[in-house]
């Protein structure tokens, strides 16, 4: 639009458009400020206090010192790292494999499979845990125990012994919701132009060559995204540990999220819980930065 009027009205017109922009953002910004930014700032302040609802006392860095000296905190970090290493790469691999298997199908069949794989995300985590508790029943009549009984293995105390408790949570994660990742991978796969495959076939590439040289490089941004969000989510894991084992036996499955929850809502030590949650946030941020540095140098979103 050609502006032929005086400069003052010209400014007003542009301002008019951007005002709408800011107004729309303001709504989301307000929600963000109230429910995300304010609690983070509040947690930062509480982490320097011994919090009581009727009046807190300032204790400085004592909460942080206690946290770093606490053996349980380091154990929970170790548990969380082990859990992350065991679950995230496997989840990526499984969702990638399933996406590759779905992509050759017709459109309606693809949609059906996508819906089926996405269904667990809709189910309540508590309801899922009740079923899994039943599957992991420690007596001979438990479902998993019946299955391994077929191979002659003695019935295991899945959730009650340190050796198998972490494994049980990991298996539960392997067999659970990959729906989101599958849908994202499918969307990315559909974005690869067919001409690449045709060119590769002309050069005599087989399925694995195509996979290695075309699909995986094209999917690098998606993989990085899923890896980063997967690790962030896995570091914050809480629900399964809380519902299935309660952190036991003997803290074998106590994750950092569960530890923070216990400190805050069981022992009412909000100051220490805030300190631990901020330390966790810093750890996650550092890991994400490292991932972007090493894997995402050439990735543009």
């Amino acid at each position: 639009m050609i502006q032929t009027v005086k400069p003052s009205t010209k400014k007003r017109k542009i301002k008019g458009d951007s005002v709408w922009g800011y107004t729309f953002i303001a709504v989301a910004l307000l929600v963000f400020a109230m429910f995300t930014a304010y609690p983070v700032v509040s947690a930062f302040i509480i982490s320097f206090q011994e919090y009581k609802p009727l009046g807190s006392t300032w204790v400085g860095l004592e909460n942080y010192k206690d946290t770093f000296a606490s053996e349980l905190f380091w154990k929970s970090i170790k548990n969380t790292v082990i859990y992350t290493i065991l679950t995230v790469p496997f989840a990526l691999f499984i969702s990638f494999a399933v996406a590759i298997m779905i992509i050759p199908f017709k459109k309606w069949l693809q949609t059906t499979f996508k819906a089926v794989y996405y269904l667990p995300a809709v189910a309540s985590g508590v309801a899922l845990s009740v079923v899994w508790l039943w599957i992991y029943d420690p007596m001979k009549s438990g479902i998993f125990n019946k299955v391994i009984g077929l191979f002659g293995i003695e019935n295991q105390n899945w959730l009650g012994s340190s050796a198998t408790a972490m494994l049980s949570l990991v298996i539960m994660s392997w067999l659970s919701s990959h729906g989101t990742s599958i849908i994202i991978y499918l969307a990315a796969l559909l974005g690869i132009d067919n001409s690449y495959y045709e060119a590769a076939e002309l050069d005599g590439a087989n399925f694995f060559h195509k996979l290695w040289y075309i699909v995986i490089p094209f999917l690098k941004p998606t993989t990085l995204f899923l890896l980063v969000t997967g690790i962030i989510g896995s570091f914050q894991v809480f629900q399964n540990a809380y519902l299935m084992t309660g952190g036991g036996p003997d803290h074998a499955t106590t994750m950092v999220g569960l530890l923070i929850f216990n400190n805050a809502f069981t022992y009412f030590e909000f100051g220490q819980a805030s300190a631990q949650s901020l330390i966790l946030a810093v750890i996650i941020a550092v890991i994400s930065l490292i991932q972007f540095k090493f894997l995402g140098n050439d990735v543009e979103y």
Binding site: K52, M139, G160, G247
Partner: protein, 482 residues
Amino acid sequence: MKKRLNVLALILAVTLMLSTLAACGSSNNGGSTATNKPSNGGSAEPAKDTIKALLPPVSGNFQSNFDQMEKEFNELYPNLTLQIEPASWEDMTQKLDTQVNAGSPPDIAFMGSGGISKYLQQGMLMDITDVITDEMKNDFDAIPYDYMAYQGGQYGFPAYMEVHALGGNQKFLEEAGIDWKSVQQNGWTYDEFREAIKAGVVQNADGNGNTRYGFVFATAGVASKDYLQILAKSAGMPYFFDADMKYTYTSQNFLKLLTAVRDMIDDGSMPKELSSVDAGKRWNMFLTGQTMITGKGLATFENSANLNNAKIKANDGSAVAGSIEAQYIVLPVPAFFGNDYVPNTVVDGYVTFRGKKEPTQEHKENVAKAAYFLASGKVAAQTNNDLFSAHITETARKAAESMEVNRLPENVTAVENMLSHAVANRTDIPVEKAADAIKIETEVIVPKLQALLANEITPQEMYDAVKAAAIKTFGEDGIVQD
């Protein structure tokens, strides 16, 4: 046109935002305690007031009676409204803790008296000593009434006093040659108990390779604190602290108790998967005949067993899958190593809370009236009858005379016998010490017990871990050393 669309879209966005905030608004209004109009000097009519109560399903029919209770309370005090918010047992603590930490708890919450020290430390409990009338106080039995007191203040009224005991299957007990009537009257020692449960083990009891165990105790989930707590009471450690305020779980009795726990599993009398047995599983095992004795057992389990028996007899398919008819027998916990039998008596009741604002004297009186209404008379009579638990107020005893109860008379006598051994509540333990003891229990004792039950650590290792944590918290002088 474009502008109108913009405005419309903006209104929609703001509406969305406001709907997320609507939840905030209602919970803020919920908790304020000082919103009543002050009554005028010359006015004869008492001011209107609302009392909020957060109540779990105390007994089977409790929550379905809420409307009736609110109506009856309003008839009794026309200017007062009782507003009851229901909660499940699982989320009761969560809901209460969230409201307490937000500074706007309900006026009354139903919970165990053991939690009083935790909330007192937060400063959120309301002392109602000065608004309790003599009539109210004299209605209650002395021992349970004192359970709701702490360090000089009275923080509510007790609803019932329950004994945590064990429950046996009459047929299996008699098959194993156990004189349960004598046990009910005279108790048993640990050695007698150990032999008895060994005798109760039957290999391949159902023909499918499943063993019938002598003894099962729930140790997983919400029941995880029960096992040691209940046994420790009769092992010379009735409280966390002795008369000199020293932590008692570092004595040799505790080590002997841990060894006994391990021995009962190694004997084969208890399942080796004990650490995964939760409250639901231990009851299921009792009903399906997989165990002779189950724990912990409350008197009300007899009611559950009778109901299931009726369903089996009627053959209507709603009975527990694979269950058998079982007559529930109340049995006391054994006494360990020559110590006296001390029953784990638990008093649950209606605890009174305050918000951030100081409550008015009038509101305090009204809350006390509401708590008394819930803890005595018809409401208490109905609840306690449903729970098969003893009445602790005169008014409830009177009201219960006309109500019917279907219990085995030997069980009634057994419970009364156990209650007669009840010890008074300790109200002299400082809140910080009590909170520290609870923290050691949750952070060290329960997790280590799970490992002990799974045979991953020895009793000596667990004892050492508890001792180390106790020394760290209370110092070398703050623990019992024998």
